[in-house]
């Protein structure tokens, strides 16, 4: 009996050994990166409403998508107190080289940006576009704001430095019900460094 059992055990061991060698090594495909689509770059461009040549752009980059750190280029932008700027925002997935801005336009009824200066004394920012600008069907029962374009009115008394924050709310579980709605799904939340001063060199 013992030898019978021993043989069975040996057979099992051989079977196990075979199955081990038969399996692949577990090594991933070298090109299998197949990255998740992420927003890796967000750029804001502000153009003086009274002077189209007075235009500044600041870009926030997180080239690996998550975590390695957010960098700004340039490190800060300077805004002119009392001026009003027309703003646009552009979002990109640089890993897969795709424009996220276009996707937001296509799903305008699911997205809403919100911008603010900090400190709030820096000025006010209002949205200047709405869902109908992007041909969105009126799915939510209203033609609500989107925020791919906006107007930033810098207070005449603004001085020193602060931030201009851009937050993108994504409406998926519950519809966008107003132009000031929020959701539990924030896709972008960046505080761009700004300073308030007249440019050193006059244009």
């Amino acid at each position: 009996m013992f030898t019978t059992r021993f043989r069975s055990a040996a057979a099992l061991a051989v079977l196990l050994g075979l199955s081990l060698t038969a399996c692949d090594s577990g090594e991933p495909d070298v090109d299998g990166a197949g990255e998740e689509e992420l927003i890796t770059q967000v750029a804001i461009t502000l153009t003086n409403a009274d002077d189209a040549s007075d235009s500044v752009t600041i870009t926030a980059s997180d080239p690996d998508g998550d975590g390695a750190g957010l960098t700004f280029s340039p490190s800060s932008i300077t805004l002119r107190p009392g001026a009003t700027y027309n703003g646009t925002i552009d979002l990109r997935d640089t890993i897969n080289n795709e424009s996220i801005t276009e996707e937001i336009e296509e799903e305008a009824e699911e997205h809403l940006f919100r911008y603010a200066f900090a400190p709030a004394s820096g000025g006010t920012i209002t949205l200047t576009d709405s869902e109908s600008d992007y041909g969105s069907a009126d799915e939510n029962g209203g033609d609500f704001a989107v925020g791919l374009t906006f107007r930033a009115a810098v207070a005449s008394g603004a001085s020193g430095s602060g931030t201009m924050s851009a937050v993108l709310y994504h409406f998926d579980d519950a519809p966008k019900t107003s132009s000031t709605a929020t959701s539990d799904e924030i896709d972008v939340d960046i505080a761009f460094p700004v300073s308030f001063a007249a440019p050193m060199t006059a244009r």
Partner: protein, 797 residues
């Protein structure tokens, strides 16, 4: 040397540890005696029916302390040879008769024992504490052990493994909404608990707090939780404890039997059912089979104030077991599949820390949701399957030596679908493409030998080998691919010094070598990292019987575990917690030293178990918040880095039950735990709160034609967890204390000749609004409110 012929197959890999239980179940085919008499005493006698005086063939005669037994022959006679010259307790039992316990004196040599058994309908009632159960409880283990079996387990059918085990004192759950719960034993869970299903160690992605064990407890006839380090018998990982699920033994008498059980739950609209059939074909002597299938389908659970959106689930599982017995050789094969699809509360997937703060401040779901109860399962969801095939053989040879071998292959597939994959190029595919798709293939081979040393000593020596292949086929790089090999070698023995005192001791050595391919997001390429972990385990314990009603046990155990793949290599934002998690690829192993003592009492009118423990864990791996959060384009995330500390978990689990009147049963229990982070000082994060509970149970053997009728009220109070690790988890405090009340009534109703077992249960009777410290959703959703459930169990054949 075993004198009985084992008539039923068993398939537990390490069956000797628990062979006492198997002796209880074994119905010997005959009383034939094998082997040669040994020096020592012999016990012989007859078993008869008290009313008729007729002999009772097939009655079981056992000496529980010695783990020896025999069955009576066709003339009702039995004989046991080679017993120690000592006093011994003998338990005589036969189906349908009242069990009898006698003390025999074998000090001066052979003795005779004639027993007459009386028919007793009370055996079918529930409050009867049979002598064998008492004996078993007193002599169970040198560690604290919780057992669910028989009627008690039947009354919990239709729930997840985590929920089922939470009925044991010292076991709580770590939950992720109503759909996911996993057991926490004495404050430890996930990779620090080993779960065995029919002797096969369950291998899935158990490191995840929101990954429930892929096991359906429907088919188990017995669930045991060994509390405390059990690394010698069960290998790496058994730091906090072991959960063992075992099916009933296959039938040995020809014929087909089985049972159907059905459950309905009001809170989530859940329906559940299980069908089990087994048999032994008359034409094929030695063969036996069992086929079991079960299914559960639930809609959204309801908290007292709202429907918990997307908490529906669907689950199906089944198994097939084939057994063959010839002489001392027993072989069985087991195939099992478990499949589930479960929704995760919609409000648990959100953007960033700003969202989380808003959700916490709001305290409930998004008020703009227009949501009604549904059975639909949407993203976020998990789809998990687990398949197991195992082959197990056992035989005895020579002078009662045992050998046991088991091969098992299992494949775990886990797919997780996020609520919303931002800017996928094909949003139409939302919910169709998982963001997380892992498959883990595990093969294992276990060999064990138990030489027959003497009646007083048992020894088991074993080797185990295992290989694992983990593959991540989705885009995320949360968990890398890896391949691992494990090997273990152990020896574990026990010795009965006298009828009252026994010892056990063992040692084990394990090694794991792992080759992983973590993705480097900066270099944008896969690494290739080989690491080898070596660990040892040891156990020493003693159990002293103090008369027939008390026993005291002490145990010192050490166990270890290698760091898991997520602790080593995770990197990224964890959905549902808005945490940035960073692994530590240089982590070392975790080792524990667990000291415990257990006092047990069993008598006709009372029973109890008090267990105190101190589990010191060296190199305890946990996530610690970094002072600086991670800033990303998606916002700011609190950042947790995997690190290690020395930790100490000390606690007391106590249960007491008294039966002052035949129809009244009063119980009280408490579970206290204090966990400290010894390196940082102060509390250790993420352990269950202290709790205290009690029950009042009234029974009637017969009432309105029903038998074994009972009504029970349970109350459990869970204290607030006040020991908070500074800065550990955002600003949200642990939820307040809560008290839950449950009500149960049930009994066995005759339905023609078929006894129907029916139970009606109401959980959270007062619809209490509560959240638990160990719920991963405690920030944003209440636990389910009032719910009633109805269970019916129908025997077949």
């Amino acid at each position: 040397m075993l004198l009985t012929t084992w008539g039923r197959a068993h398939r537990s890999a390490s069956f000797w540890t628990f062979s006492l239980a198997l002796v209880l179940l074994a119905v010997p085919a005959s009383a034939q005696q094998t082997g040669t008499p040994q020096p020592g005493a012999a016990l012989s006698g007859t078993v008869t029916d008290a009313a008729s005086g007729e002999p009772l063939p097939g009655a079981t005669v056992r000496l529980p302390a010695l783990d020896r037994g025999a069955a009576t022959d066709p003339d009702g006679r039995f004989r046991l040879l080679g017993l120690p010259r000592d006093t011994a307790t003998v338990v005589v039992s036969f189906v349908g008769y009242r069990e009898v316990s006698r003390t025999v004196d074998l000090r001066s040599g052979d003795a005779t024992l004639d027993v007459s058994l009386s028919d007793d309908a009370a055996l079918l009632g529930e409050v009867v504490v049979s002598v064998s159960a008492a004996q078993e409880a007193l002599g169970r283990d040198t560690r604290a052990v919780g057992v669910l079996d028989g009627v008690e387990l039947d009354d919990l059918r239709g729930q997840t493994l985590g929920e089922t085990l939470a009925n044991l004192n010292g076991v709580t759950t770590l939950s992720t909404g109503p759909t996911i719960s996993k057991p926490v034993v004495r404050g430890l869970h996930s990779d620090r608990i080993v779960i065995l299903e029919n002797g096969v160690r369950q291998e899935g992605q158990q490191w995840g707090g929101e990954h429930a064990p892929e096991i359906d407890p429907f088919s188990a006839s017995r669930i045991q939780v060994i509390k405390g380090a059990a690394g010698v018998e069960f290998g790496a990982g058994a730091i906090g404890g072991v959960v063992r699920l075992d099916d009933e033994d296959l039938p040995s008498t020809p014929g087909v039997g089985g049972h159907v059980s059905l459950q309905a739950f009001s809170n989530s609209g859940q329906g559940a059912g299980s069908l089990e059939l087994d048999g032994a074909p008359e034409a094929l002597p030695g063969f036996a089979w069992r086929l079991q299938g079960s299914a559960r389908r639930a809609g959204d659970a309801r908290s007292p104030d709202f429907v918990i959106r997307n908490s529906a689930f669907a689950e199906a599982s089944g198994h097939l077991t084939l057994g063959y017995t010839k002489g001392p050789l027993e072989i069985d094969g087991h195939l099992r599949r478990f499949a589930t699809e479960l929704g995760i509360y919609k409000g648990s997937h959100f953007g960033n820390a700003r969202n989380l703060e808003e959700i916490i401040a709001r305290g409930g779901p998004d008020p703009d949701w227009d949501y009604a109860f549904s059975y639909d399962i949407e993203a976020p969801k998990q789809v998990v399957t687990h398949d197991v095939a195992s082959l197990h053989g056992h035989t005895t040879f020579g002078d009662g030596h045992h050998i046991d071998a088991q091969y098992a292959v299992q494949n775990n597939r886990r797919q997780e679908f996020d609520a919303h994959r931002p800017y996928s190029d094909s949003l139409a595919a939302l919910g169709a493409r998982p963001s997380f798709d892992l498959s883990l293939l595990t093969q294992s081979l276990d060999l064990k030998v138990e030489p027959n040393l003497s009646d007083r000593a048992r020894l088991s020596i074993g080797v185990q080998g295992r290989t694992q292949l983990n593959e991540n086929s989705a885009s995320g790089s949360l968990v890398p691919n890896y391949r691992a090999f494990d090997a273990g070698l152990f020896a574990h023995g026990s010795y009965i010094a006298s009828g009252a005192l026994s010892f056990d001791a063992g040692v084990r050595l394990d090694a794991r070598t792992q080759r992983a391919y973590p993705y480097d997001r900066t270099l944008r390429e896969y690494g290739d990292v080989r690491r080898t972990f070596v660990g040892g385990a040891a156990v020493a314990g003693g159990l002293l019987s103090l008369g027939e009603r008390w026993s005291v046990a002490a145990n010192v155990g050490s166990a270890w575990r290698p760091p898991n793949i997520s602790e080593l290599y995770s990197f990224g934002v964890h959905h549902g917690t808005a945490q940035f998690e960073i692994g530590d690829p240089d982590l070392g192993v975790e080792r524990s030293l667990d000291v415990s003592t257990t006092l047990r009492h069993e008598s006709d009118w009372a029973s109890g178990e008090v267990s105190a423990y101190v589990n010191h864990i060296y190199g305890y791996v946990y996530a610690l918040e970094r002072p600086e959060p991670t800033v990303t384009i998606r916002g700011t995330f609190p950042t947790f880095e995997t690190t290690h500390t020395d930790a100490r978990l000390a606690g007391i689990d106590a249960t007491v039950e008294v039966r002052p009147l035949a129809w009244l049963d009063l119980g009280a229990k408490t579970s206290l735990l204090r966990a400290d982070n010894l390196d940082l000082g102060g509390p250790l994060y993420g352990v269950p709160s202290n709790r205290v509970g009690g029950h009042v149970r009234m029974t009637a053997e017969r009432l309105f034609g029903a038998r074994g009728v009972f009504a029970e009220i349970d109350v459990e109070h869970v204290a607030r967890q006040t020991r908070v690790q500074t800065g550990a988890f955002l600003a949200a405090p642990y939820p307040p204390a809560y008290t839950l009340t449950g009500l149960r009534v049930g009994g066995t109703l005759p339905w023609g000749a078929t006894p129907l077992r029916v139970q009606l249960r109401v959980d959270n009777l007062f619809d209490v609004r509560y959240r638990d410290a160990l719920s991963r959703f405690r920030y944003f959703v209440d636990e389910p409110g009032l719910g009633a459930s109805l269970r019916v169990s129908i025997p077949l054949g």
